[in-house]
């Protein structure tokens, strides 16, 4: 597979996943506001913190965060590279440059997705019926990943796609956890109140994890929620699950057996996965969840950079490794 193509597929899937996560954050927050509109007026800024765009937001909106300007910034602001519309534009541009590699069905779905968001941007639909719009964004994204899995050969390109999607998802789950934990936990007086429970349910819903959490742990308890979103081996949005899948994809691409490594990125990802496999939520919270997540995020970024150097960077002729000699 061409390096340029692998790079484009990786980013295509990351951007689609990013758009979906942003839609979910906003949707959950909107619902939260409905349940308690009075006490939570200033709860829009954390959404910006989750995407890590505090600085860019402050520049665009010096007046401070309101429901309208946060939604607009995260959804339709073309100047914000992480808004839903920008993510889809980037995903589509990447897809357009690898149209012959992905299946026609994938392209059709991504293009339809893009056109839907564009038309919503011009009709202001998201403000009139926000829930419907964000639900559409989520289902378009689900449709895209479903179509990808069922129409694209599960070879190198598909694994780059899976790798990108999982790395992005792990990153977003870790950010939800980080930001929400930071905001929710200091209010010691709130612990155990109905308000507290509503907030934690919202955290779970932000990761579409509420129902699955209930099945696993039943009662709402902050540590168990951290355990579920960080360490659960089977829930598809838990950080551990995402990184395990990303590791599998990476090894499928390189052909290196899992448990061994040839490249720095394989080593790093293997170390993160092992750590998560043996980690204990008590130790993590006692040692500081924020520090733990911060460290995890920088390691994931390192893994992303490693992939770039290993597969995407345009190496010179010196490092040539000719695999196929097809002259007979």
């Amino acid at each position: 597979m061409l390096s340029r193509v692998a790079d484009s597929i990786y980013w295509m899937s990351r951007y689609v996943e990013r758009a979906e996560n942003v839609a979910r954050f906003i949707d959950v927050n909107l619902n939260l506001m409905l349940e308690n509109p009075s006490g939570l007026t200033q709860q829009w800024m954390p959404l910006i913190s989750i995407t890590g765009d505090d600085e860019a937001f402050a520049k665009r909106h010096p007046e401070g965060a309101t429901q309208e300007n946060v939604i607009d910034f995260l959804t339709f602001d073309k100047e914000n590279p992480n808004s839903i519309i920008s993510c889809l534009r980037s995903a589509r541009e990447n897809a357009r440059s690898v149209r012959e590699i992905i299946s026609s069905e994938m392209w059709l779905q991504l293009n339809t997705f893009y056109l839907m968001v564009n038309s919503a941007a011009s009709t202001q639909q998201s403000f009139e019926s926000p829930n419907e719009f964000f639900t559409q964004v989520k289902s378009h994204s689900h449709l895209f990943s479903g179509i990808t899995d069922s129409t694209m050969t599960h070879g190198e390109g598909w694994n780059f796609n899976r790798f990108g999607r999982m790395l992005e998802r792990a990153d977003k789950t870790s950010r939800i956890l980080d930001v929400k934990y930071f905001i929710l936990l200091p209010n010691v007086s709130d612990i155990g109140t109905p308000m507290d429970e509503i907030q934690w349910v919202a955290v779970l819903r932000s990761a579409s994890a509420f129902e699955m959490y209930r099945k696993r742990h039943g009662r709402i308890a902050p540590k168990r929620i951290v355990d579920f979103l960080l360490l659960d081996p089977e829930f598809p949005r838990s950080i551990r699950f995402c990184l395990n899948t990303a590791r599998d994809a990476l090894h499928a691409i390189s052909g290196t057996p899992i448990g061994t490594y040839r490249k720095p990125s394989e080593k790093l990802l293997g170390q993160i996965c092992s750590d998560l496999a043996y980690a204990n939520v008590e130790d993590i919270v006692n040692g500081g969840l924020h520090e733990y997540l911060d460290n995890l995020q920088s390691n994931m970024n390192l893994a992303g950079t490693g992939i770039y150097e290993q597969f995407f960077a345009r190496r010179g002729i010196e490092s040539k490794r000719v695999l196929k000699e097809r002259i007979h």
Binding site: M1, L2, R4, E100, L108, F311, L323, I327
Partner: protein
Amino acid sequence: MNFAEYDLGGFFDEMFSQPGHPRPAAWHLAKNMEELPSEELVTRQQAADRALVQAGITFNVYGSGAGVEKTLPFDLVPRIVAASEWERIQKGLEQRIRALNLFIDDLYHDKKIIKDGAVPPEIITSSKGFREQCIGFNPPKGIWCHITGTDLVRHGDGEIYVLEDNLRCPSGVSYVLENRRLMKSLFPEVFAASNVRPVSNYPIRLRDMLEYLAPEGVTTPQVVVLTPGVYNSAYFEHSFLAQQMGVELVEGRDLVVSDGYVWMRTTNGLERVDVIYRRVDDDFLDPEVFNPDSMLGVPGLMEVYKEGRVALANAPGTGVADDKVVYAYVPRIIKYYLGEDIILPNVPTYICAEEKDRSYVLEHLDELVVKAANESGGYGMLIGPHATQAQREEFRLKIIANPRNYIAQPTLALSRVPTVVDGGLAGRHVDLRPYILYGKKIFVLPGGLTRVALKKGSLVVNSSQGGGTKDTWVLADNPVDPEEDNHLIATQTQSQSQVARASS
């Protein structure tokens, strides 16, 4: 839908011989359309437009801002070509391509045709498409023009003429395939009844032809399509053809020359490339040989090509025959190499480089169409009867300054096809571009791109100038052999379904 009111306007109509009387080949279509309520026609047209936007079947428009994509307007009513007429077109095109290939080869070798005085020597010295770098070169299998799109028109006299040869990087074949896919979904019932010859096997034919060019000894050739990139106006087509052939689409930056071979940069290191279907013009192919400023090409590519270690289609230098002055000599070229008379006639052409023709042209600018020799896409053209006095004056000066660069032809009364306009049907002028592949044999795709001038009375069909497209139905005399169509037919019934759980 009532055809009785459809006005032929005094032109040759491809669908009707007289008002309300469809030609035999168009009978099924006319009957089916007659039964459609007119709202249904509009509904289907809208469905087609929507499908194009959703599928992102677009071209980029130069000069209207970076990354501006437009869909090429598609009209529902197909152009129909009867079996017997197509047979003649096919023979004519095969003859023309065979002769042009011999002509190109001769120009880069002994130039016998010039020595024998059949064409003047200026034909080379003044051609923009002639490449000195190709003199003496023998392309793989002796073929220069692998892929050709020849523009045909029908005049008021009912005769089909060749209007233009496109031997460099003719585009549009992707629309032929996509238009057909759309039409099949919009008019399935007419398809079954009409015996339309399939076009869907074009990508396979193209791939076979490209593999045939691979260097000696390569058993499983690596074929790639080389595109200038995602902002090129024909990018959709490049990507579509690569996808349909199942080969890589590469940009210049993906390729590198090393150790005398061409390689592409993959996630596993470098992989050898054997055949390049290049959609990049000669000038941009290799900055070491052609335009040194080119960022689109691959430095050193021509050296590998000349060593026979990679094949290029079309061959560099082929553009010498893609010249409107050379065009005028094609009847003589066919006679010279094949000893045959031309089957599909040229449009009568005045060569401004020849004094007698020039003075005729300058006196009759208000009747003629004047074309620059090396322009395409409808640019650099004067349509005398529709032009202003100032435009004609501008061309008069241009012709006098550089006569070699211009030819002129009578204004043709292009034939028309009914076209959906404002919810009803109106006649619009069309041309036809069939596609020809020259590999082991010459293959003419039974179909082609019918371009239609959507503006009332307009004769300019180019997509860059407000033209649209139609599906082209070439009919078979006998029912189409299913073997000719490469669609697989599912015969297996569903053998498994969920077994109802036994209740106990």
